[in-house]
């Protein structure tokens, strides 16, 4: 029996494919299987061509799939667009009403019959797919009912009727493509990277979110907005990104843990505020969900090309930490950690995600909230308020009190300042204060996440990646190992600061090192060279707006492997 099943659902924006993919994904997870759904959508609301790629498996899944066992095409264009991605013997589901020459595997769904109105088509498709996959009818019914509950009983029952009819039709007319494995009965969540990130922020006690809508970060703010009252978060849409970032600093000054989700173009506008966080020594968590640039680029696609921007944003010199989640789970844990780090060293911490990860739905086990480490907070004492100095330089990190909490007066300043926070111009105070701020690097250094490695210590081929390319690298390394290549992977989920002692030896020990990145110039490889002197001469880069996949990487590795 197969261990995996890959589906691709294609069609126009506005046809509700996102709903089908979402509900079906949930159904798969409730059936005890593992899931990864990758979203490929255009920057439009109706029409065009979108697709959702689902990887269903009996064990945890890694990166996005390359070939598919089933294509569900809701638009004719979809058939031609994805034909070349289909595995041998794949099933192609189309609208039975289309005039298409018959071919093996091609099955026409009688939408005209099953769905009396076009809006019912997506539930009909869900019924067909659910039945083919052998998903329990109760699971499907419950999901459909929940989904339409808010629209009233009438709508729920019509949809359930459509679902039932479609399942029945499929049982009689469509081939069975059973879900891999047995279903392990474990409760899992189906969530995308942004949802996990929101959860991590909530678990860390986020209290303020300043944002301005921008794909693919918008769903972070919207996710927080949905629970804002219940969980006590102020989610404020700025008039622009500058407002959003400066608001977050004001909120943080007021003691509220603050987050600022955005994408490259929006983040560009926050550059000055990043510098303000640096000199004010104010904790703040920025999320930069990358998409392809320059400028507006490909608004709904993915890329990993803002590393250098995020690393250098802000005038003048100060420290920062950059975390780059590789998985949906990382999105949760690293966000939680980001708040702790930001407070501990009192400055900006960045989560560098991307459109792929932001919208990739993965099956994850519920997080053990009770086991989370505590998150550092401000100094809520009020001892000797007259002697309080916000920028006390007796240690690199000064106690951060909160205005209005007690009688200590808190002066946060954007100029070079003395310990009290007052403007100064004296050369000696400047140097001492800058040295104090730079010394905070030690706080960050003490907590650096080492890269995650797989494979042997002295491999013939070492694949180096960061952020969302991590899972793909691990998968590629495993595939190559299975082929007998001594391959290994090294994936960074913290890209700044780096701790060379945790990885440099591995780089040197490998016969051949290849950097794999979702950008066109190899930014992380450059950064590694700057930080360590180690020059990674080979690279596999992707910058067409689509996520790295194992197939893509393997194809480009072929010449390198041959030369090994």
């Amino acid at each position: 029996m197969r261990e995996e099943l890959h589906l691709i659902l294609g069609g126009e924006a506005g046809q509700g494919l996102d709903t089908v993919a979402g509900l079906l994904g949930k159904a798969v997870v409730r059936s005890g299987r593992h899931l990864l759904t990758v979203q490929h959508v255009m920057s439009r609301v109706r029409g065009g061509h979108n697709n959702f790629r689902m990887r269903l498996a009996s064990r945890p899944v890694q990166g996005p799939p390359d070939t598919f066992d089933l294509l569900a095409a809701m638009s004719r264009e979809s058939v031609d667009l994805h034909r070349e991605r289909l595995a041998d013997g794949a099933v192609i589901l189309v609208d039975g009403g289309w005039d298409m020459p018959p071919e093996p595997g091609l099955i026409g769904i009688p939408f005209a019959e099953l769905a009396s109105r076009p809006v019912f088509r997506n539930v009909a498709l869900m019924g067909v797919l659910g039945a083919m996959l052998g998903i329990g009818a109760d699971i499907l019914r419950e999901l459909v009912a929940d989904n339409f509950r808010a629209k009233g009983d009438q709508i729920v029952s019509s949809n359930l009727d459509v679902l039932a009819a479609a399942m029945k039709w499929a049982a009689d007319n469509a081939p069975s493509l059973p879900l891999p494995g047995e279903g392990d009965g474990v409760t899992r969540l189906a969530m995308d990277g942004n949802q996990a990130l929101v959860l991590g922020a909530l678990a860390a006690g986020v209290r303020f979110c300043g944002y301005y809508p921008m794909s693919p970060a918008t769903s972070i703010a919207e996710g927080l907005a949905q629970v804002a009252v219940d969980l006590g978060v102020v989610v404020e849409q700025g008039e622009d990104e500058i407002a959003a970032a400066n608001m977050a600093l004001g909120a943080s000054y007021g003691g509220a843990r603050s987050i600022v989700p955005t994408s490259g173009g929006g983040f560009a506008l926050m550059t000055e505020a990043v510098s303000l966080a640096g000199v004010m020594e104010t904790p703040v968590v920025f999320v930069v969900a990358q998409r392809p640039g320059p400028a507006t680029g490909l608004a709904t696609r993915t890329e990993q090309a803002d590393l250098e921007l995020v690393l250098r944003a802000g005038h003048g010199e100060f420290h920062r930490a950059i975390l780059a989640p590789a998985t949906v789970e990382d999105c949760f844990h690293l966000t939680h950690k980001a708040f702790d780090l930001a407070e501990k060293f009192q400055g900006p911490v960045f989560i560098l995600s991307d459109q792929y990860l932001a919208s990739a739905v993965q099956s994850v086990e519920p997080f053990d909230l009770g086991a989370l480490p505590p998150v550092a907070g401000p100094d809520l004492s009020d001892a000797d308020p007259d002697a309080y100095r916000r920028y006390d330089w007796s240690a690199p990190v000064s106690p951060r009190r909160i205005p209005g909490h007690g009688r200590s007066l808190v002066l946060a300043d954007c100029h070079e300042h003395d310990e009290k926070g007052h403007i100064i111009e004296a050369a000696d105070i400047r140097v001492r204060m800058q040295d104090k701020r730079l010394a905070k690097l030690d706080v960050l250094r003490a907590e650096i996440l080492p890269p995650v490695s797989t494979g042997e210590d002295d491999p013939d081929l070492l694949l180096v990646g960061w952020g969302s390319s991590g899972e793909v690298l691990r998968e590629v390394a495993a595939v190559l190992q299975a082929r007998g290549v001594r391959a290994a992977s090294l994936c960074f989920t913290q890209v700044w600061p780096l701790a060379p002692e945790t990885f440099l030896q591995r780089l040197h020990a490998a016969e051949c090192v290849v950097a794999v990145e979702g950008n066109s110039t190899g930014q992380f490889a450059r950064l590694l060279r700057e930080a360590t002197g180690f020059h990674i001469a080979n690279s596999v880069l992707r910058y067409d707006g689509r996520a790295l996949t194992a197939g893509y990487v393997l194809e480009r590795l072929a010449p390198i492997l041959e030369a090994l």
Partner: protein, 281 residues
Amino acid sequence: MIDSKIYGEYVTAWCPGCGNHDVLLALKDALARQDLEPHQFALVSGIGQAAKIVHYVRGNGFNGLHGRALPPAQALKLVNPELKVVVESGDGCTYGEGGNHLLAAIRRNLDITLIVHNNQIYGLTKGQSSPTTMTGHVTKNNPLGVFDQPFNPVAVAVTMHASFVARSFSGFKEHAAATIAAAIEHKGFSLVDMHSPCISFNKVNTFAWYKSRCKEVAHDPANWDEAMKAAMVFGEEIPIGVIYREERPSKETLLPQCRDGAMYRRPVDMDKVAAHMMSYA
């Protein structure tokens, strides 16, 4: 009333004779009238001569970026509605670089006070035209005089139904203090356009120039039509006083999550987080 000495005495970096000295006195006076102790309020500013005021008042302070005083001030109010938040900056900072934030702040209507030291010039950068510089005024960067029409903040604020709009002149010390006090007392967003002469770089809108033009308004500030009429006047006569006032709930009183006081004191409710998490099962 508190003794305004509590707000300290600092050596300023302002020119002797600058209107900012008077605004500083008026502010301290107004804070004292409101019985605000230094730890009960936060002054928020941007960058410019005016904006340095944060360094000259004992109290909590946030001296942010040029043009960006309003966003942090509003967020601060949202996360701690118990704190009095007063924003103070120059005309360039507020109406130039920060123009967009002013529009949004009026629309948000949080209970904060914005005092603009309007000297109709960029003081700190030595004399470029600001949005309120009058047409024809020759400045270093406009050798032929300014061509653009000046921005009338009071009129725009009234048009937008800002909840409290006033104009004052630093040279009238009692007027300035009383106006600021009224603005702070008002529940909702309050704007005080405080004309405060720059003696070094604005030789047009001088102390004498304002003094001879500023006249207290007589209309009922609740009357929008009258307010609009007064707001549009600026030139040979300059109506000062509370131009417009409208009572309505401020945003932080409307947001349910802001009703439990300062957010930083709120512990994480892990049960609710867990419930949210399990909604993805």
